[in-house]
Amino acid sequence: MVLVFIDQQDGHIKKSSFEAASYAAKIAEITGTTAEGILLGTVNDEVATLGNYGLTKVHTLAEANLNNFDAQVYTKIIAAAAETADVVVFSNNTTGKAIAPRLSVRLKAGLIAGAAALPDLSNGFTVKKTVFSGKAFANITVNTAKKIITLNPNSFNVITTGGTAEVVALNMTPDAPKVQVVSTDLVKGEVPLGEADIVVSGGRGLKGPENWGMITDLAHLLGAATACSRPVADINWRPHHEHVGQTGLAIAPNLYIAVGISGAIQHLAGVNRSKTIVVINKDPEAPFFKAADYGIVGDAFEVMPKIIAAVKALKAS
């Protein structure tokens, strides 16, 4: 059996979990077994609809105190549910990164952190993962009987099957958490950067935080997340969680639009897995053009209003 951790936040199943479920279902298909989910805490969503992503069964423990996330408490419950699992899948997000290493120790299962593709079973169990912050891939062979994989967001296509999952309540009492969540502060109404299909990003070329309207306007029109380069976060023009690059977040959206970013090697490392890269920069020598699919050599202050108007017209048509 392949077990996938279904991550929830604020009463809703995270979008990245649909991708992880599809990935788990595909591994189950190629290894001739079934895929099941595990969902901890309470959600408003219909859990059985996870069958649409290929899961035959979802184990739930709908205890409100599990909405208080403690990786240690979660690990113990998931380990019990994973007793008959050959592979356990997580999204490679902040929750997955907190639980998967603990589970690896508990289950004596080798961990692939940040998988970029399905396992290759032709010679053992080998998975391609990103290394050197996106500058390369490593093919890692897992030597243990059980395997744990955390899947990079936006690296596997969601597959819908129209199926319905059987929902089974786990008969367990969670341990008292040692980590108490005092408060959460979610940025409402914005697309989380790690999960976004489209990202619009700005650099020092925008000259100051007061000019970010062109970035956020285009992002809103496209349903995109906003990001920035490291210098911009360092001088506090933008919040540091928007920083993408080698020492920030590594992302892989379908479309990455970089405005006024020169494309230093550290920045490229965090974005070069994007499927389509668009660069707008007035310096024709900017290294970013070498990594781009489309580009405009021009002044962002003149080009961006025209792009925004054209997208607006397109969306209205």
Partner: protein, 247 residues
């Protein structure tokens, strides 16, 4: 208060990444080595600040690696810390590395263990969580702020789409990232002092490699940029819509 900070040696952020031996080995020729930035800028500097606030704090550094790690360990000691421990083994497997750190930590009886949120070479984000499980301790990952409130830690961590404030009792394992502290440059007094600080080399405990590297690949090269005139940015929107089909 006794703190252990885990320090890894990684290629510099500007290092050119290439592979040798039929793409099975990372090519180290010409590579500059640094302390993993998350370990140095955030985990180590925040630990040093805690020691500055309470000088009775004992601050130890640990590195799992060969003798070639010693220059970066000395650099870390030049920033701060009382002594360093190097576990003399070379492995790329997280479980093995975590087993070495857990063995030392068990002996040392630390109240706090800090790691960086990940290393910039293997990007595993695994060591903190593994060490916590081996020692049966709570673990808070992706910390952007850390303060002590009596016997408790108050930690702000990054979560998807926002932040969360947690409270936990010690001992505790924390992985650190941007926000925890500001990067420091070692001063002359620190560099001179680091020469005489203790750097203890211990042999590795027996531990399995749960994983091994079969080979590396470089990402496929881009076929070349399609440039659109700045006079006609509308053409870019048309290409993205009709050719790339991204919106």
């Amino acid at each position: 208060m006794k703190i252990l900070v885990c320090i890894s040696r990684t290629p510099d952020t500007t290092a050119k990444i290439t592979f040798s031996d039929n793409n099975t080995k990372f090519e180290t020729a010409g590579v500059q080595w640094i302390i993993n930035p998350y370990d140095e800028w955030y985990a180590l500097v925040r630990a040093i600040e805690l020691k500055e606030a309470d000088p009775t704090t004992i601050l130890h550094l640990i590195n799992v690696g060969g003798a070639e790690s010693e220059p970066i360990i000395r650099k870390a000691l030049a920033l701060g810390g009382d002594e360093a421990i190097r576990v003399n083994t070379e492995t790329s497997d997280s479980f093995n590395i975590a087993s070495q750190i857990a063995a030392v930590a068990k002996e040392g009886g630390y109240d706090l263990i800090f790691t960086g949120k990940e290393t910039i070479d293997y990007n595993g984000s695994s060591i903190g969580g593994m060490v916590a499980e081996m020692l049966d301790l709570p673990y808070i990952s992706h910390a952007i702020k850390f303060d002590l409130d009596g016997a408790n830690a108050v930690v702000v961590r990054e979560i998807d789409g926002g932040e969360e404030t947690d409270k936990a009792s010690l001992p505790l394992v924390v992985s650190c990232q941007k926000g925890m502290a500001e990067q420091r440059i070692p001063n002359m007094k620190g560099i001179m002092g680091a020469r005489t600080k203790s750097l203890k080399v211990v042999e590795a405990v027996a531990a399995e490699d749960y994983t091994s590297i079969a080979s590396f690949d470089l990402p496929p090269a881009k076929s070349g940029v399609k440039l659109v005139s700045a006079e006609n940015p509308e053409e870019l929107v048309r290409l993205l819509h009709e050719e790339a089909k991204v919106f």
